[in-house]
């Protein structure tokens, strides 16, 4: 296997910028150095120290059935830090190692199932998509505000689902022929691009939880449901009549007009959906539809 030795050398000479792939320096450190070169050295050291350290979590606890937990409280957990650790990893560790009654929803661990939106250090975040290393300690983890708490970090999602269902969230073909002889519909790439962002929603309810208007008005459809309707209303495959019908739903009292452009929905959306923009566009569409001569 002597040949490998020879091959290895030119390899590392060819790419001098490439730091040798040695385990001595953790990728985390390197990332920080490369990224914010210069001022970060100190920071990187702190990171390295943190590697042997623990993360201090303050987790909201509540259970209507258990006496000790009927009065909401915060529990402290000290979880060993690991590179790449996310908020979800940390609470899972706390549950598996310290307290098996710690309750939260989670499933995919990759930001597609939308079950683990929490209120982390004061903002709505997806647990699995939030790196611990980017948060200030202690990390305060609470259930989503403005939703009833079922237990610990679990909130009642029924209201959110009701709002999502209220916008008739399904494609409405006038005539769906027998499935065997379906002719492919055409859609321009531009039109697909237009609805692309709106179609990424994972129903995590972070946006709804962050919106003051939704907090005050239970009937407000909320940014996620409006965005869902946007996806259909803007899809050219649906006819103009159906689009008009969709706008009629949206322009009701608790529809798009409720939005006061607070932008917090857009800021917290883990899928980067431009919610405010979509809501505003629908307001204009609704006005246009009503001003026939436009």
């Amino acid at each position: 296997m002597s040949t490998q030795q020879q091959q290895q050398e030119p390899e590392s000479q060819e790419s001098p910028k490439d730091p040798e792939m040695k385990g001595a320096e953790s990728p985390q450190q390197r990332r920080l150095k490369d990224k914010e070169s210069g001022m970060v050295d100190e920071h990187a050291e702190k990171e390295a120290e943190a590697a042997d350290e623990t993360v201090h979590l303050k987790v909201f606890r509540y259970d209507p059935e258990v006496e000790a937990k009927q009065e909401p409280r915060f529990d402290d957990f000290h979880v060993p830090f690991e590179k790449g650790m996310t908020v979800l990893d940390a609470v899972m560790y706390a549950r598996d190692e310290f307290d098996s009654s710690l309750t939260f929803r989670h499933s995919c661990r990759q930001a597609v199932c939308g079950s683990d939106a929490f209120f982390v250090n004061g903002t709505q975040k997806l647990g699995c998509k939030t790196q611990i290393s980017e948060l200030e300690q202690p990390v305060r983890i609470e259930p989503l505000p403005h939703q009833e708490v079922v237990k610990d970090l679990v909130v009642d999602m029924d209201h959110f689902y009701d709002q999502m269902h209220a916008v008739e969230p399904y494609f409405q073909d006038e005539d769906t022929p027998e499935s065997d002889e379906l002719e492919e519909q055409r859609q321009t790439p531009e039109n697909r691009e237009k609805i692309k962002m709106s179609s990424r929603c994972i129903w995590c309810a972070a946006c709804m939880s962050s919106c003051n208007i939704a907090a005050g008005d239970n009937e407000y459809l909320g940014p996620a449901a409006i965005n869902k309707a946007y996806k259909f209303a803007m899809d050219d495959r649906e006819s103009e009549d159906i689009k008009a019908h969709r706008l009629r739903i949206l322009e009701q009292e608790h529809g798009v007009w409720r939005c006061q452009t607070q932008f917090s929905c857009t800021e917290v959306c883990p899928k980067d959906i431009p919610l405010t923009e979509h809501i505003q566009e629908l307001k204009r569409e609704a006005v246009k539809k009503n001003l026939k001569f436009w």
Binding site: G216, I249, Q252, H254, V256, Q260, V287, K289
Partner: protein, 121 residues
Amino acid sequence: MAERYSSFTPGGTGWLLQRITAAFLVVVLAFHFFQLHFVNHAADVTFAGTQARMSSVGYFITMVLFLVTAAFHGVNGVYNALVNQGLKGTQKKVVLAVLVIAGVALVAQGTYVALVMGDFI
């Protein structure tokens, strides 16, 4: 669940009017402020001066329009704000009635004052 919505004329007419009045107000409000604090200092205002300005029909019309739009914009704004906070049912109807009356009274009184000022009546 569209049935749930009630007592509301859809279509965003209110919303649109709020924007249109706002756009109009930007111009007149700026003009008004400038006129009464920079061109003529408020401290130097006299009835005679006011009368002189107001008797110009153009100025009179502008001011009345200013009043009407501001009243609508303000009252509609307050109403929306309250409704956004979850006001509904009878309470909402009462608030609407009160606000409409207040708004109409404001416009009526203001127009009357302006007519007097302009020496039209």
